[in-house]
């Protein structure tokens, strides 16, 4: 078993798939010769040549649109949009085209493609390098949306995504690229080295799409979360001593509602935690589904801890980011809430 950072795990997934399937191609801004601004594709062009791994013009609708044309031909493109904040020019291509080809052509044409994009904050990226737009994709029928939180899951899920016959939006929490992050920016950065989820097989394996992961077993409450917030939740649990169960969704759509509902039925209290803005965020959908499934088991109102409904600020990042202190406080409130 190799030790990998999330960057290395993502690179390894593409490496494995480029090697196994001649129809896989990788392209995006700066991904070719240079290997990507986050190095996720480093060395792949050298290994597989510029017709399999190449640079694209700065044109996100073109990256996704060309990928759709390639998928219609029969390739399996795995494209990179350099930051999730840059994905909006491609939104029409993702929503109206990639997500709809199979349906509108009755299966004659499909968009078997993966759209990778780094998301989330915690890197002082300001409002154009920090956003978490996952709810814009979970709202779209025909798409699958994945947010991994560990190197092991990132590789296994990315391989599943590339092999999937439907379009997948694969959002990579960039704050987790080099190590887990508990939400304490003042503490030394951690590395994936030595972390059990940093043990990653070098060969092909998959993590199934649509299955959540139990991060921590607990009885007092359920924290439903994904991405960077998995580690913030762990920190909050350890700092408050509240015995909360933590569920990492991994795949937002299709949603593993059974795992969530089973946990909430057991604990009776539920916190939904994400970095993205609150109103119409994915937490709203989670909250609705959890009350539909677990209303009579709930001992307190479901609580959402999220980014504020503002653009992502630069200097005030740590007041915006739902850190362990805010999560811990809300968790304590949740436990104190009357049944």
């Amino acid at each position: 078993m190799a030790q990998m950072s999330m960057i290395e795990a993502i690179r390894s997934a593409m490496d494995v798939m480029l090697g196994r399937d001649e129809n896989v191609v990788v392209f995006g801004e700066d991904v070719g010769y240079f290997g990507g601004v986050f190095r996720c594709t480093a060395g792949l062009q050298e290994k597989y040549g510029p017709t399999r791994v190449f640079d694209s013009p700065i044109n996100e609708s073109g990256i996704v649109g060309a990928g759709i044309g390639m998928a219609a031909y029969g390739l399996r493109p795995c494209v990179e949009v350099q930051f999730a904040d840059y994905i909006y020019p491609a939104y029409d291509q993702i929503v109206s085209e990639a997500a709809r080809l199979r349906y509108r052509s009755a299966g004659q044409f499909t968009a078997s493609m993966t759209i990778r994009s780094p998301c989330g904050g915690g890197i002082f990226g300001g409002q154009t390098h920090s956003q978490s737009p996952e709810a814009l994709f979970t709202h779209v029928s025909g798409l699958k949306t994945i947010v991994p939180s560990t190197p092991y899951d990132a590789k296994g899920l990315l391989i599943s995504a590339i092999e999937d016959d439907d379009p997948v939006v694969f959002l990579e929490p960039k704050r987790l690229y080099n190590g887990p992050f508990d939400g304490h920016p003042d503490r030394p950065a951690q590395s994936w080295a030595g972390h059990p989820q940093g043990d990653v097989p070098e060969d092909h394996y998959t993590v199934p799409i649509g299955k959540a992961r139990l991060v921590r077993d607990g009885f007092d409450a359920t924290i439903v979360t994904y991405g960077t917030m998995c580690f913030v939740a762990e920190a909050a649990v350890s700092e408050t001593g509240i015995d909360a169960e933590i569920i990492d969704l991994r795949t937002l759509l299709p949603l593993d509602i059974d795992t969530i509902a089973n946990s909430v039925r057991k604990t009776g209290r539920c916190m939904i935690l994400h970095e993205a803005t609150r109103t119409s965020g994915f937490g709203a959908e989670l909250s609705a589904q959890i009350q539909e499934e677990c209303f009579y088991n709930l001992e307190a109102p479901i609580v959402r801890v999220t980014g504020w409904d503002t653009p992502y600020p630069h200097a005030q990042e740590w007041q915006y980011f739902p850190g362990p202190e805010r999560v811990g406080r809300e968790l304590t409130n949740l436990m104190e809430a009357a049944s």
Binding site: G62, P89, R104, D166, P254
Partner: protein, 408 residues
């Protein structure tokens, strides 16, 4: 005192509006046969004049003249004429169905038949078109089953697309016809991507992209051109300039200050402006561009200059925004009439055969429509289960649940 007078704001206006006399005096129609034909492997730098001229082959006497006339197989010309006539008969029959309330919506391509038919007949099996909604000729000239087209339009139980798509948004992979999107321009970059894939795989197939004059304003038009320029894939990028985007004349898309063809020059892509109502010019220029693509010489853009005789769709009345007589005044004439006269002039066709063929095709469309109506009209027979199929390859649990909720 300020140094400058107040700024003024320009909103382009067509030369004439309803109530006025049609005016094409500013539309320059060069003589047929006067535009040169470079070799396909000439330097794109030496072809720039072709983006502002107008390639025409059929002259006023219906003769094919000049360097683009070439030699076209007689059977192909006759097939081209018949296909254009069948397309027009089909359009008329579908308009009737719409007026009878058997379908919600229809779009004719009257006056533009030569473009889709002329180009399709220059393609090979396996090539892929990425069409808009006005290229029904691509299917009709390949003898795609008319009954399937009508069943799609009627959204009935035999609709190949299971009632999911607006009428005329066909999909026919086996006929090299990509699923049409109602979102304009999105398919242009798909054509480029498909052609890139063909090149990546070392294939010999090529793609064609289709877009209208109005939709060249969309971002995806420029996405397609920049990617076509960068990667030089085997693609023919067609702009059908039919002068009108619903009620907006081509000037609203920027077509009155430069030709649409000229847009490709900034990308280093060879670009030709062609009489789209001249079947022979369409076919020969298409062959030239397709040859470039197939010989790995890269993309070509072609602006087909034509006129949308029909309304945009059954949902608009063109006399509200342009003179009713404008289509009759269009200087490039009727593509069917022009090819018909050419073939008669060569002794390959006659007025009598033309009349017979018209009657034959009208009857074919009438009978085929009747056959299609047996499978239902206006959504009859479309299965509600099909709402939930094909969203994903395998239906996820939340959709199974919603399907049960609907009780199907």
């Amino acid at each position: 005192m300020p140094e400058y007078s107040p700024l003024t704001f320009r909103v382009p206006e067509p030369p004439v509006r309803p109530g006025g006399e049609p005016d094409f005096s500013k539309f320059d129609v060069p003589k047929a046969g006067t535009v040169r034909r470079p070799e396909v492997d000439s330097d794109p730098d030496d072809m720039k004049d072709l983006a502002t001229s107008l390639i025409r082959v059929l002259n006023r006497n219906a003769e094919a003249v000049g360097p683009w006339a070439g030699d076209i197989d007689t059977d192909l010309l006759l097939h081209g004429l018949r296909s254009m006539m069948r397309t027009r008969s089909f359009d008329e029959r579908m308009m009737t169905l719409q007026r009878q309330g058997k379908t919600s919506f229809y779009m004719k391509c009257t006056g533009e038949e030569a473009i889709a038919v002329g180009q399709q007949l220059a393609l090979l099996p396996g090539d892929m078109n990425f069409p808009t909604y006005r290229q029904q000729g691509l299917l009709i000239c390949q003898d795609y089953p008319i009954v399937d087209m009508i069943c799609q339009i009627l959204s009935n139980e035999r609709d190949p697309l299971h009632g999911r798509q607006l009428p005329v948004l066909y999909s026919a992979r086996e006929y090299g016809f990509f699923t049409i999107s109602g979102n304009l321009g999105t398919q242009y970059i798909h054509a480029v991507g498909w052609a890139m894939a063909s090149a990546i795989k070392g294939d010999t197939k090529i793609a064609t992209g289709w877009i209208g004059d109005g939709s060249t304003a969309e971002n995806d038009f420029h996405a397609a051109l920049v990617n076509a320029s960068v990667y030089q894939p085997p693609v023919v990028l067609n702009i059908v300039n039919n002068q009108w985007a619903i009620s907006s004349y081509q000037g609203i898309a920027g077509g009155d200050l430069a030709t649409f063809a000229e847009r490709a020059l900034g990308y280093g892509i060879p670009s030709l402006r062609v009489d789209g109502n001249d079947f022979i010019a369409v076919h020969q220029v298409s062959k030239w561009a397709i040859e470039r693509a197939r010989r790995n010489l890269g993309p070509t853009l072609i602006e087909w200059v034509t006129y949308r005789v029909a309304p945009h769709s059954t949902s608009d009345d063109p006399s509200k925004y342009r003179p009713r007589e404008e289509s009759a005044a269009w200087p490039l004439g009727d593509p069917i009439l022009r090819l018909k006269n050419h073939l008669i002039q060569r002794g390959l066709w006659s007025e009598e055969r033309h009349k017979q063929a018209e009657a034959e095709f009208d009857e074919e469309m009438r009978l085929t429509a009747k056959e299609a109506e047996r499978y239902g009209v206006m959504g009859e027979g479309a299965s509600d289960r099909d709402i939930f199929e094909d969203v994903y390859k395998d239906m996820p649990p939340h959709l199974s649940k919603q399907r049960q909720e609907l009780g199907v």
